[in-house]
Subunit: 206 residues, 2 copies
Amino acid sequence: MEKKISSAVIKRLPRYYRYLSELLDQGIDRISSQELSSQMNVTASQIRQDLNNFGGFGQQGYGYNVEILKSEIGKILGLDRQYQVIILGAGNLGQALANYAGFEKRGFLVSAIFDVDENKIGMTVGNLEVHDMKGLSAFVKENPVDIAALTLPKAKASDVAKSLYAMEVHAFWNFAATDLDLPPDAVVENVHLAESLMRLSYNIAN
Amino acid sequence: MEKKISSAVIKRLPRYYRYLSELLDQGIDRISSQELSSQMNVTASQIRQDLNNFGGFGQQGYGYNVEILKSEIGKILGLDRQYQVIILGAGNLGQALANYAGFEKRGFLVSAIFDVDENKIGMTVGNLEVHDMKGLSAFVKENPVDIAALTLPKAKASDVAKSLYAMEVHAFWNFAATDLDLPPDAVVENVHLAESLMRLSYNIAN
């Protein structure tokens, strides 16, 4: 089934997942395409078309079963498993990621945070102690690591990513303002904040 | 000229701007489409097509004048002026934004940071003192505010955005995991970190 879903639909799935999670949190266990449409500000026909990809969960006169739909979308998004995450860089952004409880709820477990700064090493962030970056290689050998979140200065991010790739860490959540130079099978999700701010200024100016 | 540029090209401009800025920082004042192509991992013909939108800056045997091209793209992106930014929420993420020197370099000047937490009010972040959220309305009346960056819990973000909109602040950089409910002329740039993480897990899973 997963192969048939278009990339345009895939792009919209995280937003559906977020809304369905909120509905469940509110104790709502079924919803019509019309109701979802008015909440999400998307046409009901778009919603029906998108969610048709997931089989017969939308029923005439009943609507969608929120829990089943959320679970199906979660599977497609790879959220039916847990990921061990390490954070490189214990600055404000690294600390913000380490402290964000929402990630753990979705199966992203932060297992360690690293920095080179002696003033940060040994500090407690969330319930984690900041490790010396020198211990990174030993840590990765001894512990499963699925995702490395990079909140390092751009001058260092690419080298650290290359080292991690060589240690078999192949997925990166990159916050450094640079493109990582990695082999094509690396999975990289960039969060380029400066580019986001430029899109905002473009929309203000135009 | 600006009207003719397609939205697909516009989307790529922040990345061009970033590369051109880095070239200038390195003292490089001209570059061929081939060189830029290999650095940016985009085909040279795509680059020529995109940059043709900006007139005759690419010349046979000379390449692009980096400074002129950066300046032209900067104008389109609205970077030829300054923006006064306030940050709502002085948690780790708000502090990270306030401390990021790169924004000021591009004309985004953080003029104030607000929080409701008594433990944070009065604290110094970067070179700013954290203000009590109660003083927000008075501050906005007395000072120009172009952009509000929202690093608040999602339950509060939409209400604070509505209040700000009523105070004539119409541009929002939204980090809260919720869609703001604002009139259509509001300019909103969302940074939904949880959705970004889901795109990453989707790409790991598939």
